[in-house]
Amino acid sequence: MRVVVADDVMLTREGIVRLLRDSGVDVVAEAENADGLLRHVRLARPDAAIVDIRMPPTRTDEGLVAAQQIRSEQPNVGVLVLSQYVEPSYAMRLIEEHPERVGYLLKERVFDVAILIDALRRIADGETVIDPTIVSRLVGRRRREDRLGELTAREREVLHLLAEGLSNKAIAARLFVTERTVEAHVKQIFLKLRLDTNPESHRRVLAVLAYLRAGA
């Protein structure tokens, strides 16, 4: 797999690059700002770009903006945004326009390089990746009338994985059940949460996240 890595802090950038190379990922270019990233992506046409959310000049959300630009310019290039914020609004902003082939992971998640590799692979497969910490926080959010309470323990597990962006097939593999069972769970969940039962498959992450966020 060929990737481009963009992070303005040299220490972390090199750390990521070494971890990736150690795991046999082909890092074709490194960038320290959004412009460099966009240039390398156009030239190298990687499978995915790993992007720090905070980059010069303002160190706010340059990474998010660059990620959206890459997604609209090059639909075949996946983008994984690495962030130090447990901030659902950033994650949702990322997947709002192009919900497939994007991911939002916390930076320290890279420490477990298997998770990073898995995320990159899922992105390359067209899935969406949302950091489990963010999903946990949303699922754990206090609500006055909590329809999540109507869900069974198994359904809650499935909801969690849905929100992380896993496909039915991936959820089935994770829970050691058949894909048909997962489909049935997903249908039940959407019914109980009164969500549109048949969203486009790549939009369902957004629907679930929006539901969890609204908290009603």
Partner: protein, 564 residues
């Protein structure tokens, strides 16, 4: 008065040679004109001692009677001679008074030159010089008193002097008239004050000039029927002139009374800037500004306490108001108000207490305003320090910890490959420690300042607050608009503190509305906990620093923050 009666007596003695000419109307006109001018002059002197104008006016009034003195009826040689020399002294004196009205000072070099010429023309060319060569007895006036300035009688020279005097006289009369007309045209704001004086004075001078022109054919000023008609008209013009001068003197008194009335009103209703409006109205200068001096900083402020500089524009000037030697306020007004020094003085004297009162209020307001600014600055400085701290933690310490955790991971992989189980275990635990440190650092940084607030705005920041809140936080109608950082921070802090407070009061939920209404951001928070006992002082400070208000109820909170 005696002057007038003496003059009239002289005139009555020789009706054929006098203007008053023995008729009742003539006598009344003579006395009315002379006395009214003298009275106006004396009144002016009384009101404005030290203003030369009063003297000039009085002199003009007296000079009005002089032509009658050059009659045999005056009886004394001195009076007769003064009459001969000064019989045209009135026009230049009246012109002088009109030009110098109301300050008593002449306004330009041109005025001075014209007046000097006029006095010279009247007193020398038509006065002293012809008198010096005129022997009244030699010309047939046998009962005339002696001419004290007579040197040698020369009838030819007498006529020459008179003829030239008349020609020159027409010249200076027209010059004086033109100067007065020019002043009247330029009078603008002060027109109401100046025109009643300038118009009759100009008319008077014009009548005199016309009479001079009539006398050219004769070569000497005299009193035929035309002259008498002119003279009656001149009397009328002078009476009007006297009224023009006297009226404002009464008006000043009225103005003082009306200001005093205003002052009473002002003390009853405290309108900011009311003193300025009152002064502008009373002085008739709608553009008038009143600025107050702060005794602590020596800067100037308006009635609301806003700092400003008394900057007189074109045609405007600054009059300071003193208490002792210290300036307490300054009036920026039309230059032409200086033409009514009496009015300005009277009005300011009457308004003094109101001015001092408003000056104190303005000073307090200015200090309050500064206090509010300094509070706002303190809050803003605190916020920017927190924001920087948050950035430093994210971009510095956290990045290093993350890089360190990556290195630990690489070492761990290497240790595993070289089968060092103890080292591997140690590195795994170190890596987990680093992960925990990163999480804790993130929580800390978020607590110091939520980056999402500055980067994405109030609504997303409140969503995140709801995600993390230990109790249900219902966000209803939260505006998506962006506002300035201090406003958003204050609103966020209001909700954050309310949530914490509600948790402590065992509430089961918190409901929040944030809307924008009429330039204010309204934050309304409600919960169902037990009643609140302590006020939220810190919050009220923060909201107050932005000029907003905080209304805290037992289970509710409502903040209004101006947001432009």
């Amino acid at each position: 008065v005696a002057f007038g009666i003496a003059s009239l007596a002289a005139a009555r003695h020789n009706p054929s040679g006098a203007f008053a000419a023995g008729s009742l109307i003539g006598g009344i006109a003579e006395l009315a004109a002379g006395w009214s001018i003298v009275a106006a002059g004396l009144l002016f002197l009384l009101r404005h001692a030290g203003n030369r104008l009063g003297l000039v006016l009085t002199a003009a009034g007296l000079a009005w009677f002089l032509p009658e003195w050059s009659n045999p009826g005056i009886g004394t040689a001195l009076g007769f001679t003064v009459g001969l020399v000064g019989f045209v002294a009135c026009p230049p004196l009246a012109g002088h008074a009109a030009l110098a009205y109301p300050t008593g000072r002449l306004r330009s070099f041109l005025d001075v030159v014209a007046l000097a010429t006029s006095y010279g023309g009247a007193l020398l060319l038509l006065g002293l010089l012809p008198a010096a060569v005129f022997d009244p007895r030699g010309t047939g006036c046998l009962d005339c008193p002696r001419n004290l300035v007579l040197t040698t009688a020369d009838n030819g020279l007498f006529h020459t002097f008179n003829l030239y005097g008349l020609w020159v006289g027409i010249g200076w009369l027209i010059a004086l008239g033109a100067l007065l007309v020019w002043r009247a045209v330029r009078s603008r704001h002060a027109a109401a004050l100046l025109l009643p004086v300038l118009v009759p004075a100009t008319a008077y001078l014009a009548l005199v000039a016309w009479d001079f022109q009539h006398s050219l054919a004769r070569g000497i000023l005299s009193n035929d029927s035309f002259d008498r008609r002119m003279w009656l008209l001149e009397s009328a013009a002078l009476i009007a002139f006297a009224f023009g001068v006297a009226m404002p003197l009464f008006r000043e008194r009225r103005a003082r009374a009306s200001v005093a009335h205003f002052v009473v009103e002002l003390s009853q209703m405290a309108t900011r800037g009311g003193v300025r409006d009152m002064l502008a109205q009373t002085l008739g200068d709608p553009t008038l500004e009143l600025v107050y001096r702060r005794s602590d900083t020596d800067g100037f402020v308006d009635a609301l306490g806003h700092a400003l500089d008394p900057e007189p524009g074109l045609g405007r000037t600054v009059t300071p108001l003193l208490r002792g030697n210290a300036t307490i306020a300054a009036l920026v007004h039309d230059v032409l108000l200086l033409d009514q020094p009496g009015l300005l003085q009277e009005v300011l004297a009457a308004a003094r207490i109101a001015v001092e009162n408003e000056q104190l209020q303005a000073e307090v307001r200015a200090q309050l305003e500064e206090l509010r600014y300094s509070r706002a600055r303190i809050v803003e400085t605190g916020d920017s320090v927190r924001r920087r701290l948050e950035r430093d933690l994210h971009d510095g310490a956290q990045q290093r910890l993350i890089a360190l955790s990556y290195d630990l991971r690489l070492l761990q992989v290497a240790a595993e490959a070289n089968s060092h189980p103890e080292v591997t275990a140690l590195l795994t635990s170190a890596g987990n420690e680093a992960q925990t440190a990163i999480s804790e650092l993130r929580e800390l940084a978020h607590g110091i300042y939520p980056a999402v607030l500055a980067e994405a705005g109030l609504a997303p920041a409140l969503e995140t607050l709801a995600d993390d809140a230990p109790l249900p936080l219902e966000l209803r109608d939260v505006t998506q608009e962006r506002h300035s950082a201090p406003v958003e921070t204050a609103a966020y802090m209001a909700v954050a503190e309310a949530v914490q407070d509600a948790t402590e009061r065992a509430a089961s939920f918190v409901s929040v509305r944030v809307s924008r209404e009429a330039g204010r951001l309204l934050v309304a928070v409600r919960d169902d906990g037990i009643d609140r006992s302590a006020p939220l002082l810190h919050l009220s400070d923060r909201v107050g620093a932005l000029g907003g208000s905080l209304d805290v109820g037992p289970k509710s909170l409502r903040a209004e923050i101006p947001c432009g």
